[in-house]
Amino acid sequence: MRKTIQILTYSLLALMIATPGKLIAQTDSSAKPEVMEATTYTPLIEFLSVQKNDNSVDLKTSVKAKINGTLTKLAGLKIEFTIGADSTAKKLGETITDSRGVAIFSCKPEQLTTDKEGKLNFKASFAGKDSIESAEELISVKRARLEITPVKEDSLLTVKVKLIDLSTGTETAVPETDLGVFVKRLFSALKLGEGKTDEAGEASIEIPNNLPGDAKGNITLLAKLDENEVYGNLEAVVTQSWGIPVSDELKELPRALWSSHPPIWMLVTFIVLMTAVWGHYIVIIFELFRLRKEEPKTAS
């Protein structure tokens, strides 16, 4: 009986100590959020088109929604792209937003149709899903094209860029428009210069002759017209062997603090120290083996 009471008391004591758990937490940061009533979120679609010099058009959307006061990128949403006014709208295709909330659709030249004013009317729409409401965004831009021509005179490297309006069915030069020339780098494009188109719709921009290129010295030059009220975004790309060749062969990194192999002095120091200490241990263990061997036989 006494033993049973003892066991019960100890069990109760253990239970009392173990159970308060989260109750005595200073800050109960582990608590699960309370179940909220179903909330719907209104997505915001940023939509833009990029007309390219191969006559194709890239349609880019970025989808976000304000969730708990923070603008959050929405991934995994199906975005549908159409072209044309409501009555004549034609579906171009669908894309799913990636982890950055971005969906890009590349529109082929034969898919493009303009209205009477020579404008391209695109629509990006989301049909709605779970707690995210439906949304759509429209853009209307005039059909145009950027042309890029590299010109080399002696040692002077120049890029000629021409902006052409295609909305009327004939090619018309567009004057007095600011353009930029860039070179593609590993992560993004590096700006090389700016220029304004003349009466012939052309702008000449000088570029440096010491740009690092790929193994063959190729560099990719990019002419851009950004966020123009009439034409939207335009791009033209050309690859030219004007760069300084940079070998793409993997070179073995030197032994250093930052590389994958430690400096020799560090390796030597480590080996010397470890050998010295573990060497002592081995000698001691050897001594203990000898001690055991020398146990007097009569004693054992």
Binding site: Y10, A14, Q26, T27, L267, H280, E287, L291, E295, A299
Partner: protein, 449 residues
């Protein structure tokens, strides 16, 4: 094994403590186990819910766990350095206290690194440290150094206990058979022949020589984890010696406390006497003064330089609305109190020295906390749009529970070890007097020397 009268006396005195577990020991064991169970529950929550249950966040990534880790590795110096140095110098009065010192070393080195494991977010990748070590990383140095140090500490304790294991083996102790078997295995056939004594003596000398630089390297490496990081309050060239000194200092404090507790608990007044407390008190005084000098030098340099980020940390340490009171306690209890207690003959008594040690050890724990947290709360990049818990660290009950579980484990291991081997080494005791004494067997039979 034959014992001289001094050894016999010491053995008879301690024999009951290893033969019987006793009611008090059971009660303490249950008490410590309850704390460990609470810690186990906290650990379960941490594993189930992740580190969100701790106060650690993106900016303050280290907290209580790392403070505990440095603290435990620090107190492990009791055996490694104090026992090692006193052995090399052949200081006679060390003999009754070396077992306690070496036990502290082994147990603290076992518990300390566990706190690192508690702090690591992805334990499933722990083996990467061994499979893909990066020799340039202070973390790799730390893992290797602590593993080597722990191995050395175990060997050191074992070497110093072989002779005693032989005594337990031959004494026909009233203990279960499995324990007698363990004593026999651990005694590795030691019979006290001159040749066997020589092997142990060689091994002990080798170990005493190697354990001192090893212990210094271990704590230096630990300090370099901070010192080699470009953070205010950490990036300092004196961190290596500063950490080593603080470690020996706190190790001495824990040794004094353990001596006081065991002397009182087992009535070992004849073996651990006032002289031991006073001598260790003197060591503590010298170390306290040196530690105070390092502390002053460290903060004076940072303050005088007026470098923006260092000034921010200094401001936090001196501001009473932030860490001012803790900083004051760390320095008063950690430096001034032990010095004054030992300096004045009136207070130079075991009880006062043990009390000063207790406060000093607590102060040094606080000091470790103050090294870690205020620096991490002062990031080099300004923090905007961040929740307060990301800026300011506050340990949660989970961290406290695991901290106390660690301390309980330390005491539990100590209790269990002191029931497995005598606190006062029998074989070491009275070795010098042996030649002039009659020799007795443990059973009491008197034979001529």
């Amino acid at each position: 094994m034959q014992l001289n009268s001094f050894q016999q006396q010491a053995f008879d005195k301690q024999r009951p403590t290893i033969e019987k577990f006793g009611r008090k020991s059971w009660m303490w064991t249950i008490f410590f186990l309850l704390w460990i169970i609470v810690g186990g529950y906290a650990l379960y929550l941490q594993i189930a819910d992740g580190h969100i249950v701790t106060g650690m966040r993106d900016n303050v990534v280290w907290g209580l766990y790392i403070a505990n880790f440095i603290f435990f590795i620090g107190i492990s110096y009791a055996g490694a350095v104090i026992s090692g140095i006193l052995h090399i110098l052949k200081v006679e009065w060390r003999k009754p206290i070396i077992r306690i010192a070496e036990m502290i070393t082994v147990i603290a080195t076992m518990i300390g690194p566990v706190f690192i494991l508690l702090c690591v977010g992805r334990l499933d990748r722990l083996h990467h440290l061994i499979l893909y070590p990066r020799l340039q990383s202070p973390i790799t140095w730390d893992v290797l150094a602590i593993t080597t140090y722990f191995t050395g500490s175990v060997i050191f304790l074992y070497l110093a206990t072989i002779k005693d294991f032989a005594i337990y083996r031959d004494a026909k102790l009233k203990v279960p058979k499995w324990r007698q078997k363990i004593y026999k295995i651990l005694a590795i056939g030691y019979r006290g022949t001159p040749s066997q004594k020589k092997h142990i003596s060689i091994s002990m000398n080798l170990m005493a020589v190697i354990i001192i630089p090893l212990a210094i390297i271990v704590h230096s490496v630990l300090s370099w984890i901070f010192g080699m990081t470009l953070r205010p309050g950490w990036h300092s060239t004196i961190f290596g010696p500063y950490f080593v000194l603080a470690a020996i200092y706190s190790g001495t404090g824990v040794l004094i406390m353990a001596m006081w507790v065991y002397r009182k608990m087992y009535g070992l007044y004849d073996y651990i006497n006032d002289k031991h407390f006073i001598y260790l008190g003197y060591i503590m005084l010298v170390l306290g003064a040196a530690y105070g000098y390092f502390t002053f030098s460290e903060y004076l340099t940072d303050w005088f330089g007026s470098e923006k980020w260092n000034s921010e940390v200094i401001h936090k340490l001196f501001s009473f609305s932030e860490y001012g009171w803790w900083f004051l306690f760390a320095n008063v209890a950690g430096i001034l109190l032990p010095i004054f207690i030992v300096a004045f003959p009136k207070t130079r008594k075991p009880r006062w020295i043990a009390l000063a040690s207790f406060f000093m050890v607590a102060a040094l724990w606080v000091k470790r906390y103050l090294i870690i947290v205020p620096t991490l709360e002062s990031p080099l990049l300004p923090m905007q749009d961040t929740r307060l818990e990301y800026v300011k660290y506050s340990p949660t009950w989970v961290e406290w529970a695991l901290t106390f579980a660690g301390i309980a484990t330390f005491f539990l291991f100590f209790t269990l070890m002191s029931k497995f081997m005598t606190i006062i080494p029998i074989s070491e005791f009275g070795d010098k007097e042996k030649a002039n004494e009659k020799v007795t067997k443990p059973e009491g039979e008197i034979v001529p020397a």
